[in-house]
């Protein structure tokens, strides 16, 4: 979803703060350390599913990032970075708190951790997103679809057979020229606005395989964020490192011609040129 978190190219925010922050002082305040610790623990646990023996629903970093994007722009711009993490936890509790943690929205509001209006804003954005199409997969309104679920012969490992099967048939190869598709919606995407419509070169395919606990096969195992952020299904789409000429992305006024911009992009974001 587009918003102030996509601020590449914004001016007027002023000098970068705290450039020489001491390495021995990871936080300025202990409560920040607490926040980091809580965030890391909660979303590591919840990312693997929080019902016993059930991988879904789950609430991992993709869902946490989406939550930040559903903040009111006013709250985002006025917020300390740690408030973004607090917001993600509030969304998790709002959506799954009673079932997963025995905590409800009322607990949050009563303790003035967030306002009821913030929770309502997020809920409205999510409701709208759940009715929208998402690149590369058949949407929840597709005929015959189970309400709220996506389907994809290409990217659902249940339909494709396995994550590795998906990884064996990437559509693009290193050296391909690809154009980034335009897209819009309330859902979470990692296809950033500043490269949409731009043509770049595929530099690397990261591979895709099923994750085996404790084993490192040097391939990518992460799910497609657009679907994973909605907490119900894990789809996998080939992801590529793509390179752009800086002047193709930002124009050639005040842009160093030596600039090369690198971003990772998933197959549904791209088309062959």
């Amino acid at each position: 979803m587009d918003g102030p978190h996509f601020s590449v190219g914004w001016g007027g925010l002023g000098p970068i703060p705290d450039k020489q922050q001491s390495v021995s002082q990871p936080w300025h305040h202990q409560w920040q350390a607490m926040m980091q610790s809580i965030y890391a623990q909660l979303f590591t646990k919840a990312g693997a599913g929080f019902r016993p023996n059930e991988p879904a629903p789950f609430f991992g970093l993709d869902a946490a990032r989406w939550s930040r994007e559903t903040m009111a722009p006013r709250d985002y711009m006025n917020g300390d970075y740690y408030s973004y993490w607090l917001t993600a936890i509030c969304t998790f509790i709002q959506e799954y708190g009673p079932a997963a943690l025995g905590i409800s929205e009322e607990d949050l509001v009563r303790r003035r951790i967030c306002t009821p209006q913030q929770l309502q804003r997020t809920a409205a954005i999510r409701r709208k997103a759940f009715r929208q199409a998402v690149p590369g997969v058949n949407g929840p309104s597709h005929p015959g679809q189970l309400a709220g679920l996506f389907s994809s012969a290409d990217y659902d490992p249940k339909q494709a057979g396995s994550v590795e099967a998906i990884g064996r048939r990437p559509r693009f190869q290193v050296g391909n020229r690809v154009r980034v598709l335009h897209l819009q919606g309330n859902w979470h995407t990692r296809c950033y606005p500043y490269v949409r419509g731009c043509v770049g070169t595929v530099m690397v395919f990261y591979g895709l395989s099923d994750e085996q606990p404790g084993q490192f096969d040097g391939k990518y195992h992460g799910p497609y964020p657009e679907v994973a952020s909605q907490s119900r299904q894990k789809f996998y789409a080939p992801v590529y490192g793509v390179r752009f000429q800086g002047t193709d992305v930002f124009g050639d006024v005040n842009v160093d011609p030596r600039l090369r911009v690198h971003l990772d992009l998933w197959e549904p974001h791209l088309e062959l040129v």
Binding site: H5, D18, Q21, P26, S37, N78, Y81, Y84, L86, I113
Partner: protein
């Protein structure tokens, strides 16, 4: 900062809240937002609370509000307590409901503070400078093994003694079930300066790492993200104006020392490419800074001490 008000104040606080003056009821002020912090306030590394009595209770800015806004919301939404109070309230709630424990929270904090950190990245860089075959494994993985660097680093950290502790840099228990630690599974290592391997061998490249939307960062090699990396000031400028960002870092670092600035300027002018790496997948990027020629006689131990966190992200270069 003011102490939270006692229960005796409850009727007054309710009145103020109901009349939309909750800012006055809240009492303690919020700390300046780190996202758009004023740099002067951060000198010395500590956030500065507003001076005592300087309108703390009704300072809109301190509450996270904007002066360019109507004075009240029709919905009745009112500013919340400070972020510190909200975080502590959340912590209390999670502990009370048995979701997390005080010990686990503190344990994770200790892990971040003491066990991971830039000393790991610096050890890897120093070793790479001194061992071309190790460097090649890090920066030149084969196309079908794009994250070979993670495996090479795992082997290195498990089998190399940290001279500060007398123990290996990493043992299985320290990696939390992952290859080398948090956000270390899918590493791509970049080389700053003259490229040693690959199709760009010989050309002069500067790489700089960012996460323009959140704060994805190679924690396994560098520990916790610094404030500047997470700041919207950095995130909004690094991709379209990376040299402007590096100039800003280097101006601070070389302040008043012409020879050092000249060294940086020469490096900057000889660059053939500037590459920005926006970490938007689970892949994390890490930079091997250019080794100053003047350091070529130093031992690996001596080199480790000179490698800075900022240089391992490409925000700075190392000065001899």
């Amino acid at each position: 900062m003011k102490e939270p008000e006692s229960n005796a104040n409850q009727p007054r606080r309710s009145f103020l809240r109901n009349t939309g003056l909750a800012a006055l009821a809240a009492g303690a002020s919020a700390l300046p937002a780190a996202g758009q912090a004023r740099p002067a306030a951060d000198a010395g590394g500590a956030a500065v609370a507003p001076p005592e009595g300087a309108g703390m209770g009704n300072d809109l800015e301190a509450q996270g509000g904007s002066p360019v806004v109507e004075s009240g919301y029709a919905s009745g939404e009112s500013p919340l307590p400070s972020l510190k109070q909200r975080v502590l309230a959340l912590k209390g709630l999670l502990i009370q409901k048995g979701v997390l424990t005080e010990d686990k929270i503190n344990g994770f904090v200790a892990y971040y503070e003491k066990l991971i950190g830039p000393h790991l990245g610096a050890a890897a860089v120093a070793h790479a400078w001194v061992n071309p075959s190790f460097l090649e494994k890090l920066v030149s993985p084969p196309p079908d093994q794009p994250f070979q660097a993670t495996a090479a680093l795992r082997e290195f950290f498990f089998n190399t003694t940290n001279p500060e502790t007398g123990r290996p840099y990493l043992v299985p228990g320290l990696t939390l079930g992952t290859a080398i630690g948090p956000e270390g599974e899918y590493l791509r290592i970049l080389e700053n300066g003259k490229q040693s391997f690959g199709p760009d061998k010989g050309s002069r490249v500067h790489n700089i790492v960012a996460c323009t939307v959140c704060s994805c960062y190679p924690q396994a090699l560098l520990g916790v993200q610094p404030t500047w990396y997470k700041s919207q000031q950095y995130r909004s400028r690094v991709v379209n104006d990376p040299l402007g960002v590096v100039d800003e870092f280097m101006a601070d670092l070389t302040a008043g020392q012409g020879a050092k600035w000249a060294y940086y300027k020469e490096y900057r002018d000889r660059l053939e490419e500037i590459r920005t790496w926006d970490s938007n997948s689970e892949v994390r990027f890490f930079v091997i800074p250019e080794q100053p020629r003047q350091w070529s006689g130093l031992s690996e131990q001596e080199l480790r001490k000179r490698i800075t966190r900022n240089a391992m992200l490409g925000a700075e270069i190392l000065l001899p």
